[in-house]
């Protein structure tokens, strides 16, 4: 582990022109923005991602950053990229409404209004918003807003309520993508290719967000598979930025696309395969 400020300066000195996207978590984001704002040489070469898990709206985020001791001109200097994840907004919405999800259409409409309001509040606060991350996988296309049903990638009806939420949330992100394009046509939209971190015995895992222990994709595999595959959403949606695991493969994909060739979309990540056969791969010396 490396101190962020020292490490960033080292990298920027060694690689002039580098842009660093700092991914900050939840309640920590205001503190990071405040600290970064006092380091203008890093502000000008960086973007800060923060999540819907953190501030409830733009006004609250601004006051949290101010309370964390930001430089007076932080709004002019710190480049921000809000990251929209639906779950925290849904939790807050139903807590505010004091009801459980019940009617699919009404729930969907209420939730979409909440998502849109969150985004608008970030845009209206005078922040230097340089993009918005909408991490969709495309599975939401099968989600029916009126019935609240969906079909999985194999065409079977989704019955597990948790998985159905994946589909609903993905549908919300698809609609949000369209909303952002219409409402903020010059705003870049970010996505991500998120590979698995380790695979063993044909099971794929991500590092857990708290203790880093492997957490199986498990029943969320439909969504994670889409996230993990270079090119999967790139060809179906209009993204400006992709934060990519498997960076070389993403470029390879682009190079072929420029030549009219759509490569097979593969989610494999040989660097993370613990049980991969290496018999056919020469050892490095």
């Amino acid at each position: 582990m490396t101190s962020v400020w020292e490490g960033s300066r080292r990298l920027l000195n060694q690689y002039p022109g580098l842009t660093i996207i700092y991914d900050t978590k939840d309640d920590q984001s205001p503190h990071f923005v405040a600290a970064l704002s006092k380091r203008p040489e890093l502000c000008s070469a960086s973007l800060v991602q923060f999540y819907t898990w953190g501030p409830e709206d733009g006004e609250q985020f601004a006051s949290q950053i101010k309370a964390a001791g930001a430089a007076a001109d932080w709004k002019e200097n710190v480049n921000l990229v809000p990251v929209v994840q639906i779950q925290p907004l849904a939790e807050r919405l139903f807590a505010d409404l004091r009801r459980a999800p019940s009617d699919p259409t009404r729930d969907y409409d209420d939730l979409f209004a909440r998502v849109r309001t969150w985004v608008d509040s970030m845009m209206d606060e005078g922040f230097k918003v340089r993009g918005i991350q909408v991490l969709l996988g495309g599975i939401g296309e099968s989600y029916d807003r009126s019935s609240g049903g969906a079909f999985d990638l194999a065409g079977r009806p989704v019955t597990d309520p948790q998985i159905l939420e994946d589909y609903r949330d993905d549908r919300l992100l698809i609609d949000l993508h369209a909303y952002v394009r219409a409402a903020y046509p010059n705003l870049p939209i970010f996505s991500i290719v998120r590979a698995y971190d380790v695979a063993q015995d044909s099971r794929r895992y991500k590092w857990g967000p708290v203790d880093g222990k492997p957490e199986a994709w498990g029943k969320h595999s439909d969504l994670f598979e889409q996230h993990a595959t270079p090119g999967k959403t790139r060809n179906r949606y209009d993204f400006d930025f992709i934060v990519a695991d498997l960076f070389p493969r993403a470029l390879e994909y682009e190079a072929h696309l420029a030549n009219g060739i759509a490569l097979d979309e593969k989610s494999g990540n040989p660097w993370a395969d613990l049980t991969r056969s290496v018999a056919d791969i020469p050892r490095q010396t």
């Binding site: 490396t2 209009d238 070389p248």
Partner: protein, 202 residues
């Protein structure tokens, strides 16, 4: 940036009582009974060309430099605007080459930059302020909220540790069996933090 100073009695006490410190940390870990070889860890050894889906499979006529400049350009934020149809890429958590260069290490970041990326994405975690009652926290590069996956010394949350407590720790990769960590680990050469920071220090 000026190094944080370790001035208070409390901090000195911490230094004395916790066997963190760092000149022998690597040797200590590598002589631990829990230290295993890279082979025992079970990660494949993947040649560089397997970074691509098939060996060096860029279409003929593609100039790799132009490709990189187009899709991961330097000085991104100068005249930053969207260009419909053009997708730009950032290397997520660096260019991970597990187990030697785990995610969010200086080695992974440098691997991405050496490959030609000029946009990288880094996870950051907040630490405790250096001074008791201090206002500005430090930050480290890490995906997880706690230190347990990547260090052998502490499983505490980063928010309960100061940067100066953790900055020199060697980064480990834990052995995984049946989808869970064992007590065993392999110590990487990733102590870039100490290299970077010691470089400044001296």
């Amino acid at each position: 940036m000026k190094k944080p100073q370790r001035l208070t009695a409390e901090v000195r006490l911490t230094i004395v009582t916790v066997p963190f410190w760092p000149l022998t940390a690597l040797q200590e870990l590598r002589s631990s009974p829990n230290h295993i070889s890279r082979e025992q860890l079970g990660w494949s050894i993947i040649p560089e060309h397997h970074l691509f889906s098939s060996a060096m499979s860029l279409p003929s006529g593609t100039n790799a430099f132009d490709l990189l400049m187009k899709h991961s350009p330097p000085f991104l934020l100068r005249n930053f605007r969207r260009e419909p149809g053009l997708v730009r890429y950032a290397a997520h958590r660096g260019l991970i080459k597990a187990p030697e260069k785990p995610d969010n290490t200086m080695g992974a970041y440098r691997a991405a930059l050496a490959f030609g990326a000029r946009i990288i994405e880094c996870d950051v975690m907040k630490c405790k302020p250096e001074m008791p009652g201090g206002s500005e926290p430090g930050f480290v590069f890490c995906h997880d909220r706690s230190a347990g996956r990547i260090t052998a010394y502490s499983s505490a949350r980063w928010e309960d540790l100061t940067v100066s407590e953790v900055e020199d720790l060697p980064i480990i990769v834990r052995q995984i069996k049946k989808g869970a960590f064992t007590e065993k680990y392999w110590v990487t050469d990733e102590k870039a933090s100490s290299v970077d920071i010691c470089y400044d220090r001296h």
